[in-house]
Amino acid sequence: MEQSLEEFRDLQKKINKYAQNQFEFETKINETKLVQDELKLLDDDSKIFKLIGPVLVEQSLEESQTNISKRLEFLTKEMDNLTNLIKETEQKMQDIQKKIYDSKKK
């Protein structure tokens, strides 16, 4: 019983951490989407610069768009991973809850 409670609390902490990460990823995804939208509005002759370390490097529209879609893809994948992790952890929590409930009944 004690042990299960301990486990339950650990899982809860984990879920909170995952949620926190999810929150951060969501922010990043939003930012990337904004950049993507902004690039869509551009003409072909607009100048685009990418900040690499302390240097601004000029980049073609095409290259920027590929980079941004790749980044978005990566972030979305990470986000899905987190969502799955949260689901798994929630399932584990439910199992423990059930175990505690059953042992109380006896």
């Binding site: 409670l5 339950f8 609390r9 809860q12 909170n16 949620a19 926190q20 929150f23 939003n30 930012e31 990337t32 904004l34 950049v35 902004e38 690039l39 551009l42 607009s46 100048k47 685009i48 610069f49 990418k50 900040l51 690499i52 601004l56 920027s64 941004i68 980044r71 809850q97």
Partner: protein, 157 residues
Amino acid sequence: MEKTTGLPQRSIDISRLPNEQIQALKEQMAGEIDQLSNGINTFQQVLARYETSIQTLKSISDSQEKKQILVPLTESMYIPGKISSPDYVLVDIGTGYFLQKKIPEAVKFFERRQVTVKQKIQEYRSVVAIDEKNLQLINSVLQQRVYAYQQLQKKQI
């Protein structure tokens, strides 16, 4: 935020949950509210920054000539300079990308961003409102339990 889904079913179950879990739920809610409030604060700072940018752009474009400015070298030391190409500015659009834009375009960009940020603030506020309601519910259940416990103790004395 997708977190709001499943809340109604939670609130039905709440009075049957053991104290431990209610406490945990309460912490979770409070944490979420904290996080969202922080987010709203950040958004408001961003909004103010965009506003400053717009005002600055307008003040640059007001004068046709090459305006003399003071370029900060350190926080307390400046050097006189002239803006050599007053028609274009570089705008930070996020994730390290900068765009060269004409001033009216740049102003439009910031205005677009402001609209987006304002929408986000609204979104967050509505989630906070729901969370606060839930927190109230949790608190009232906890209070009822404390009260019931006190009554029980009185009877025993």
